[in-house]
Symmetry: C2
Subunit: 99 residues, 2 copies
Amino acid sequence: MYPCMQEILTSLSDPTRRAALAILWDGGEHCVCELMARLEASQSRMSRHMKVLREAGIVLDRRDAQWVRYRRNPDLAPEFASVIDAVLAAETRSERKVA
Amino acid sequence: MYPCMQEILTSLSDPTRRAALAILWDGGEHCVCELMARLEASQSRMSRHMKVLREAGIVLDRRDAQWVRYRRNPDLAPEFASVIDAVLAAETRSERKVA
DNA sequence: GATACATATGCGGTTTGGCGCATATGCGCC
DNA sequence: GGCGCATATGCGCCAAACCGCATATGTATC
C-alpha cells in the first residue's frame, strides 16, 4: 500500500518532525546526529521521529558507515509533496513575521 | 494570538474533520445536522469536531434559529488556506484513484 | 409554560502519541 | 575480539485525543 493522507498529516503534526523536514527539504542528506544537534533533540527521540517520517514514505534513509543518512523521498506522490511544501512555506513565513 | 500551524495540522489530522472541511470548502453554509447525516457521525462527535475547527480559526459559525451554520473562514491567513487546499485536493485525487 | 428539535458540554473510558531510560545492534578501528 | 561512535528499539510513564452517554442550553411553536 502507498502512503495515505492520514499518515502524511500525522507525520506533520509534530513540530520536531516538521523542523526535521525543513532541514531535509533542501534535497541533501543529513544524518541523525546532525538533526539531533540542530534540533536539540535526544537521540532516541530523533531516531523515532525519523522512523515515523520514513514509514510514511516521506523520507528515505541510507546506511553510510556508522551513519544513517536521511533524505527527502523524490518519489513521493506530487499531491503529498504539495502538502508538505505548503506547510513548510507557511511555517517559514510565520517565523519571518516573528523575527 | 492568531491560529498557529500546529492547530491547523492537528485539526487536519482527523478524517472526519477533513471530510467536514471538504463539504464546507464549497463556500456555503452547512448546519451540524447536515454534516452529521452526510458523514454518519453522532451528534456530540460532530459538534466537538466543529468546535476544534472553529477554535483553530478555520471555520466560522452563526446561530440561525435552532441551527448553527458553519462556513469556511474567509479571513484565514492565505498560507494556511493553501495548506488546506493542498490537503483537500490530494484527498479528492486519491478518492478518484480508488473509484 | 410545555414540548420538540438542534446544538453544546461534562464525564468517564479507551486509545494513541511522545518521551526518557536502558539496552541492543551495526560499523570502523586498533 | 575489544572499544567507541552512531543508530534503533523495548519498556514504562504520562499527556492528549477521540468517543459514547447523559444532560444542559437555546430556539420555535403551541
